[in-house]
Amino acid sequence: MTKLLGFQGLLLILLAPCMIGVLRKLEAWLELRQGPGIFQPYRDIVKLMRKPAMRARTTSRLFAITPYVLFSVYGLLCLLAPVFHRATLASVDLIVVIYLLGMARFAFSLAGLDAGSSFGGLGSSRQMFVHLLTEIGLVLVIIALMVKWNTVSLTAIFDKHWELGYVNFLAEPELILLALSLALLILLESARIPIDNPATHLELTMSHKAIALEYAGRDLALIEWAEMIKLGFLLTLLGNLFLPFPRWADPMHSIGPSGLALAFGGYCAKLILLLLLLAFWELSQPKLRLRSIIGPSLVAIVLSLTAIIYTITLRK
């Protein structure tokens, strides 16, 4: 059973489009629209999968394999991280997480340059700019967690946070700072408002989409799906690290069917809460000016630094 649970990441991969569907539905509703059904992303992906992947004649193999790289990197992340149960295929370092994210972004930026279109290059440079800003923040979050718990293992930190429970959690201000910091960094990393507008039609403001413009059919489906998985993974990470289950529920360790059901239900509830927050946030914020992106990333860095200093000084 535990072995089987190791593959819980597959569930996240499969459910990610639905999660995006829910997010879009929520946002549509706040915009007074009805919006597409929550399963619309599946329909889009299936339709794109059926279409041929047209590639420009100028592109190399690099361009062709990038969608697969993206998909497998984000898929791997899902498989390595605990989703609704602590059992995973392997114990994973947070550092691995950061560099897998970095690798995906690097591959995607290269693909943008490879296509040789004017927007691809523009998108690549913006992607790298944003990643540069997030990477520092993410490393600092990890250092803070390491200083706090003397470990960088994802599962170990999960356990610590779960053992802490909610009441004690609130008594640890550095963790709250870190939660805010990570939330900001997730907005940056997943290219959502106020950093980038995933729904834009304006080619000059695009960052992620500028590169995706060159792809078609199957390739595009994989890229879109990979992006959904990425957001799903990041939200799961945030939820599991900083919204631990209540101690009495003990779902993270349980194996029985009722325990698993409870764990899954709790996980979904957490995710929906985060999606709701994300929807509210995205609608209440306009997109920032490209240069002002430094602002939120600086805030994230300062928050993590404060958490580190707080932890160190308090321990002594």
Binding site: L30, H201, P286, R289, R291
Partner: protein, 588 residues
């Protein structure tokens, strides 16, 4: 005053011709140097260039090409300078006034493509509206060239000379062509950016993609009575303003004015058009900032105003209403209900507009983005809302050259004046000393906000929506009281047109929502159109957009304020949207 100034300046005697409209002055001068001197003087006097019309009159009595410049003087007069190209040395060349009025350049480029006329001392390249598919010596607007003949010559064209110029790039600068087909649902036109990183160093426009040969169509396929059909399809968002300007030109030619209720209807629909376009523009700008909470709600209000258009005028874009001689409505609209609907939607719009103007992150994106300074706006001859937002607050043809219902109802002009907050606008209020319209106004532009940035243009749009809504209410009220609320009020023009000699011309001008639209219509034999020159405000504002985007202000560079004023590539769509210019009106 103008007469004295002109005679004083010119080397050769200047002839004045009589005009039927008292606010139009018509002068003829054959001397090219005099025209340039006149232009210098006009610039100093603060004239605004309305249009330059090139005309091939080689088969008429003067046997030459002619240029007609139309200037708008600040005292409400329109000055027409007719300039026959009589110099036998230069039958196709003229002295350019672009040194004083740079807004004439696009008109000169047009004249080069369509007539083969060019400035004497200036080498200009073809290709403004006629791109590579056209042979270089086509000159389709010369009246002897018939449409089938022109088409035959285009189709036989084998010349493969590329008309687009390529400029050598400085080091470290990348050229980024965008368009002509764009990713969003917008019009076709090409922007060529020169970028260094994200900063826009230079921007080159290439328009003309949508050239449809409209001026030739006026000459060959449409009669004076029918021309409105074409006019209202020049730029869809300004359908009513264009057809109104056309109709006014024909009416001025025929020497008549439509009845009072027709004038009221026209004023009403002109403001309705302003209302729905301004609301739509605000929605689009807010959507570009990705603030969809407000944008989607404003989009609903836009839709509601378009539905109101359909209920009042029978068409969502207010087409098929104007006729030379009056208006024709298909059904009797419910005026009091319309008044409620306008009030409700403006009310909702203004509270959302306030939200956008107050939102710190929105302000951050808009303030000091895409600045078109007052000097630049004056220098480039920018017009319409763009010029007003740059500080030329009174640059509004409704005020400068009030015509029709605007001339008859001073309280409407007071409302327009009240768009900008200030206490000293007594100039137009003295004619009607009634209550100050500024009371109970919800949106006004503050004088210090008129910096010419995106924020100023947005704030101005919001304030103008309120102004228009107030004017609409005034007009709806008086239309309800009107005893002769006729739906078909078209005074037949055929008789009076027949009495007018051929090759007379008439002017039509309207302050549309984008700026002033000017029509210059010359009658041919019978009821044909010999020449119809259309000038959409976009033509003057595209160059203004370019200078708002690029940083050429050497002084601020030296003072180290450059980072404040340079624009990022990612801000261009927002700046572009804040101008919201029409390609189809520009390309014709």
């Amino acid at each position: 005053m103008i007469r004295a100034g002109l005679t004083e300046i010119c080397r050769k005697p200047i002839i004045e011709l009589p005009r039927r409209d008292t606010n139009e002055l018509h002068f003829i001068t054959e001397d090219g140097d005099d025209v340039v001197k006149l232009a210098k003087w006009a610039k100093e006097e603060g004239f605004y260039l309305c249009t330059m019309v090139a005309n091939d009159e080689r088969f008429l009595e003067d046997h030459v090409f002619k240029l007609y410049y139309v200037f708008s003087a600040s005292d409400g007069k329109l000055v027409i300078i007719e300039h026959p190209l009589t110099d036998p040395k230069y039958p196709f060349n003229y002295a350019s006034i672009s040194k004083y009025f740079s807004s004439v350049i696009p008109l000169e480029k047009e004249a080069l493509d369509l007539f083969g006329l060019s400035p004497i001392d200036n080498t200009m390249n073809q290709g403004f509206v006629l791109h590579d598919p056209y042979p270089p010596d086509l000159f389709p607007l010369r009246p002897r060239r018939s449409m089938p003949d022109i088409i035959k010559r285009i189709e036989e064209n084998k010349t493969q000379v590329s008309k687009s110029e390529s400029i050598p790039l400085p080091e470290g600068v990348l050229s980024l062509p965008v368009g002509p087909i764009h990713a969003g649902i917008i019009e076709a036109g090409q922007f060529r950016f020169l970028i260094a990183g994200e900063i826009v160093e230079d921007l080159e426009l290439r328009l003309g993609y949508k050239h449809r040969g409209i001026e030739k169509l006026f000459q060959t396929q449409y009669s004076l009575e029918e021309g409105w059909k074409l006019a209202e399809r020049i730029s869809g968002d300004s359908s009513f303003a264009h057809s109104m300007a056309y109709c006014q030109a024909v009416e001025s030619l025929a020497g008549m004015e439509p009845g009072a209720s027709a004038l009221h209807w026209r004023g009403l629909f002109l403001e309705m058009e302003r209302l729905h376009n301004h609301i739509g523009d605000v929605a689009a700008m807010v959507h570009d900032m990705a603030f969809d909470l407000a944008a989607s709600r404003i989009a609903v209000l836009r839709e509601k105003s378009m539905q109101l258009n359909a209920d009042l005028g029978g068409h969502r874009l207010l087409r098929n209403i104007n006729r030379p001689g009056g208006v024709e409505l298909t059904r009797s609209p419910n005026l009091s209900e319309a008044s409620d609907r306008v009030r409700e939607l403006t009310d909702q719009f203004l509270s959302l507009g306030k939200l956008v103007l107050e939102m710190p992150a929105c302000r951050n994106r808009m303030i000091m983005t895409g600045v078109l300074s007052l000097e630049q706006a004056t220098e480039l001859g920018a017009t319409g809302l763009v010029a007003r937002a740059s500080g030329l607050g009174k640059h509004d043809f409704r005020l400068r050259h009030a015509k029709g219902v605007y001339a008859a109802r001073p309280e409407m002009l007071a409302e327009i004046n009240a768009t900008i907050e200030s206490g000293e606008d007594g100039a137009l209020r003295d004619s009607n000393g009634s209550a100050s319209p500024t009371t109970s106004r919800r949106a006004q532009v503050l004088k210090e906000e008129l910096r010419g940035d995106v924020f100023a243009r947005l704030a101005f749009r919001i304030a103008e929506v309120e102004t228009s809504a107030r004017i609409i209410e005034i007009l709806l009220r008086s239309l309800t009281d009107f005893e002769s609320k006729q739906l078909h009020e078209v005074t037949p023009l055929v008789e009076s047109l027949r009495r007018i000699a051929s090759f007379e011309f008439g002017l039509g001008y309207v302050e549309g929502w984008r700026g002033d639209i000017m029509y210059w219509v010359m009658k041919g034999p019978g009821n044909t159109i010999f020449r119809c020159k259309v000038r959409d405000p976009s033509l003057f504002n595209w160059p203004a957009l370019v200078s708002a985007v690029i940083l050429k202000d050497q002084q601020s560079l030296e003072e180290g304020r450059s980072s404040l004023l340079e624009n990022l590539l990612a801000d261009f769509p927002l700046i572009n949207k804040s101008f919201n210019l029409s390609c189809s009106g520009n390309d014709l």
